[in-house]
């Protein structure tokens, strides 16, 4: 899929929406902890969500469709982690002040203007990801800017909102979607940039820059899934496509690149269709039951569906020959987009189209027979589905809709990111967000005094931090850069400010040792900030040596239940006293006295080796080296 694209020429515009979890003690509207869990849930309950009527007195069609599918939502909870508020069985408590403070601080860092009074809103979302059927969200600040490589990127809005529940499972047969409530209502900050980004790389840089600023606040959560980016991508003559839930920063430029290609290819398809004289009204839902053509078929799916009373339903797509199989993104064709829609609206397994046939046990003979039945010309294509009749009709209707949209070029829709950077259809673009006030929560006045106080407590900007890393903490420029971009920045600062340890040792442990251990497969996520802090506390009190840090970290990551001091005992990492070190060295010298006499100063190396085998990790190597040199030199002097 190598396509040289001149992004300026095609008028690429990208806007980012960054969602970052705040590191608060409790959730946004109750006192439950903000912990993501993997242990088995303690209880569950079952709910239905109903579309509510819009301002126009009608139900939102997409919402109504979801409801008519008869889906139930099963919510899983923990007795010690989920309360009646998350269950939508108790009104929300006051908005978490800690979250408000952090979010305001970040707004000020972005030079965004906080509103004078905060109004919490209900944003209707009825896919089950909120027990209430709406997400609580508040617009906190307007405007602002960041600079990325000298270019001003305006910030449009900063919102404070609750996170959605985690989808765990979907049981299509039972029409049940399972959500876990641990993540729901963890405070999120949402930062939206203006759509001024013009290249895929720039999108990634802007996301990175905002992420860095968030980390510098020192009050956001870390790790996979704690930050999510939504991308709004459009090109000239294309459409605004919203791509949801990108978790990996490194994927952003790829996704934008691929989306641009997709939109350009869809525009190409549009041109080709127009050249072939295809018009929307020519694409008709004249479905034909072609089951009798499959009487003796070898196709497994055809036999299975037909034997169960299903049908083979086909529809002609005039002028589409060769275009349904046209690749839009790696492995994804216009046919994939048809199939995505059919799956979404009719809950079917998939469709077949003439550009990929004969195949799947469907012979050329059968293909020709279908073409004949549908009166297909050379340029005409067809789509075929094996399903029970009602579903088949729904599926082909969805295909017809999408085929008509091919004449518009790029249909507006919400897409989801795939791990390889391609995207798939998620749902139609929601209408204007349906929002109304959360009447259970009082408006919150944000006073100038409060903002002034926050302004005084703002963290230093990245440039000032960098200077400090170099001048005060004496880090190398490379390490200083690593550190200000690190998720561990706040932990680093806490350790070097509170403990008497060499900052470069701390930085090297956080940025090198931990990374190496992770690569070797150690579950370093088990090392909490608290544990790491304790390790350095032991180092600062000379209870362990810096050489012991990797071994200790390995052990603690594998044994998350063991306290740090206990691990030190179990591993025998406690620093040796000077007396013990001296006696070990003396013993080694005594046992190898002939070697020393023989080789003189060249014996220092081998003796060091013998001693270090015994004391490694329990005492500073430099000290040992000095002692050994000293003692051997003394012996050699005596000998003279």
């Amino acid at each position: 899929m190598n396509m040289k694209v001149n992004y300026k020429e095609i008028g690429l515009m990208v806007g980012l929406e960054i969602h970052q979890m705040l590191n608060t003690k409790s959730k946004l509207f109750c006192e439950c902890p903000t912990l993501l869990r993997t242990d088995n849930p303690h209880f569950h309950f079952l709910r239905k969500l109903r579309p509510t009527r819009s301002e126009l007195g009608e139900m939102d069609p997409a919402a109504l469709f979801e409801f008519k599918k008869g889906v139930s939502y099963r919510y899983e909870g923990y007795e010690d982690g989920i309360c009646l508020v998350e269950m939508d069985e108790e009104p929300p408590h006051d908005l978490n002040r800690e979250a408000l403070e952090i979010a305001l601080m970040i707004s000020l860092m972005l030079k965004s203007m906080p509103v004078d009074e905060l109004h919490v809103m209900r944003k209707i979302v009825i896919d089950g990801s909120n027990t209430t059927g709406f997400q609580r969200t508040a617009l906190l600040a307007i405007g602002g800017e960041i600079y990325v490589e000298g270019k001003k990127i305006p910030i449009q809005t900063v919102c404070l909102e609750e996170d959605a529940a985690r989808k765990i499972d979907e049981d299509k047969k039972r029409k049940e979607v399972v959500y876990r409530l641990d993540r729901m209502s963890i405070p999120l900050i949402e930062i939206a940039t203006a759509p001024v980004i013009n290249t895929p790389e720039e999108a990634e840089r802007v996301a990175f820059k905002i992420g860095q600023l968030l980390r510098i606040s020192g009050r956001v959560k870390r790790g996979l899934g704690t930050i999510r980016q939504d991308l709004n991508v459009s090109v000239k003559n294309g459409a605004r496509i919203e791509i949801k839930g990108v978790q990996e920063l490194g994927l952003i430029s790829k996704i934008v690149e691929f989306e641009v290609v997709r939109q350009l290819k869809l525009l190409e398809i549009k041109d080709k269709l127009e050249k072939r004289g295809v018009r929307k009204e020519m694409i008709k839902n004249d479905f034909v039951d072609v089951s009798e053509i499959f009487v003796d078929t070898k196709s497994k799916i055809a036999r299975r569906v037909l034997s169960r009373g299903g049908i083979a339903l086909a529809v002609k797509l005039p002028g589409f020959a060769g275009l349904i199989g046209y690749e839009l993104q790696s492995g994804r064709r216009l046919g994939t987009e048809f199939s995505d829609r059919a799956k979404y609206w009719a809950d079917v397994g998939g469709i077949f189209h003439s550009d990929e046939l004969p195949s799947y046990g469907i012979t050329l003979d059968v293909v020709n027979k279908i073409k004949q039945r549908l009166n297909c010309d050379v340029n005409d294509a067809f789509v075929l589905i094996f399903e029970e009749k009602e579903k088949a009709v729904k599926a082909l209707n969805a295909v017809i809709e999408r085929a008509k949209e091919a004449l518009d070029g790029v249909p507006e829709e919400t897409r989801g990111a795939n791990p390889d950077g391609t995207t798939h259809f998620l749902r139609p673009m929601p209408g204007k967000a349906r929002m109304y006030p959360e009447t259970d929560i009082k408006p919150i006045r944000i006073t100038k005094e409060f903002l002034d106080e926050l302004q005084r407590r703002l963290p230093e900007p990245p440039e000032a931090k960098y200077e400090k890393m170099i001048k005060i903490y004496k880090l190398s420029s490379e390490m200083a850069r690593k550190m200000i971009e690190s998720y561990h920045l706040d932990l680093f600062e806490r350790i070097v400010e509170k403990l008497n340890v060499t900052p470069s040792i701390v930085a090297s442990f956080l940025e090198n040792t931990l990374v190496n251990l992770r690569r070797e497969g150690f579950p370093v996520s088990n090392l909490s900030d608290e544990k790491i802090f304790l390790m350095f506390e032991l180092l600062s009190r000379n209870i362990i040596a810096k050489e012991a840090l990797p071994t200790l970290a390995e052990y603690l990551s594998k044994n998350p239940g063991v306290p740090v001091d206990k691990a030190v005992e179990e591993l025998g990492l406690r620093t040796l006293g000077m007396e013990e070190v001296n006696s070990i060295i003396d013993k080694a010298i005594k046992n190898n006295i002939s070697l020393i006499r023989e080789r003189g100063e060249r014996a220092i190396g081998p003796i060091m080796g013998i001693v270090m085998r015994e004391v490694r990790g329990k005492v500073d190597g430099k000290l040992v080296s000095e002692l050994v040199k000293d003692k051997i030199n003394k012996i050699l002097m005596q000998g003279k």
């Binding site: 069985e89 009074e117 109004h119 307007i142 408006p443």
Partner: protein
Amino acid sequence: MEEEKEINYSERVKEFFKDNRVELYDKLKIIHRNGQVIKGVLLPRPDIGDPDVLILKLDNGYNIGIHLDNIVSVKVLGHLEAAPLVKIRKTYKVRKKSLVYFLGTGGTIASRIDYKTGAVYPFFTAEEIYSMFPELEDIAFIKAESLFSIFSEDMKPSYWSIIAEKVADIFKKEEPKGVVIAHGTDTMGFTAAAMAFALRRLPGPVILVGAQRSSDRPSTDAAFNVIAATITALDAPFGESVVVMHGSTSDSYCYVHRGVKVRKCHTSRRDAFRSINDIPLARIDYPNSFILLNERYLARSKEGIILENKFDPKVFLLKFYPGMPGEYLDLLIDKGVHGIVLEGTGLGHVSENLLKPLKRAYDEKIPVVMTSQCIWGRINMNVYRRGRELLKVGVISGEDMVPETALVKLSWLLGKNLDYKEIREAIHANIVNEINPRSEHRSYPSL
């Protein structure tokens, strides 16, 4: 601009509106002191918060507040036609003939949000009910009317009389399979008990239904509660006053509670209502299967309704607590109370100092009924000495009635102009199964 709508803004803000010819729902362009340009529709203020702060709805749907002092200039860009009531679908297909009659009294169940302003409006016509709960088209033919639109905490005995008379009238004229009364949940139990006494020999059930989550939210319990109430109206073999609400936190089943044995036991949960000292009459499994649970019921009657809908409001429900001064009871008697229900401790006790004023009530022929603040269990004043002393000063055992039902019953008996002796007898008499002669093991919930 109408005075009442902007009442929550301060005088300063109103002056500012006047000077700049700004009206509610105007689309404004505001220049903020720090240079920011804000465009939004001016909304009325709720009655809380800082009255100097203007509320604007932005294009993206969010509401924000901007303080008057931060506004440098304002320009009116246009006006949003406020359409406070949403249009509703006028047509509906009814596939069933059986009539169920809906009466509205207010509360969470009969309200709807105005998305523009966020205000909540009551609704109650058949069209609106069908439009809100389209499943009903497949279940019943519905007629509806609104009697009041009040908070349930503003309900009172004279309203019970009006509702009861209306229900009797509907049964006579319309012959529905049942009458569904939409009611706020807070005092629903009282009204259910009142209907039970005021309307006897019912041809079908009188069903009180409500919602713990308002019907404007996707997670509302109103829909299933209303559908379950309608199913009860059609399928129940009984002609009693009942409460139909969620049976658990899930949208899985509803319970039909006997109106005289039900109590709201939780401030906010969907399954707040519990049958006390009784088991529910029936259960409705989602979406519509009716399962009878309790054989002890009053069957639908064809003999004609007995309507006795007078209630005496001069009754008092007194919860005893350690150290309660006896003179408070004297004060009630001085004020001319007609009857008292005591919520005593345990099996039915109060402190010694209350014996004297209780004796005074007895002498003045003011009935005093003992119930228990334990809620579950039965009164028995024969076990301890204090109980026997209370019986001696004329306190009447309320048996296993919940205090609220005892209060409604006493109010109703007083409304019938019975004399003191008759009232004493009637309290003990089991009129509409408000007393359960057997205390069943399973009727007390375990954790």
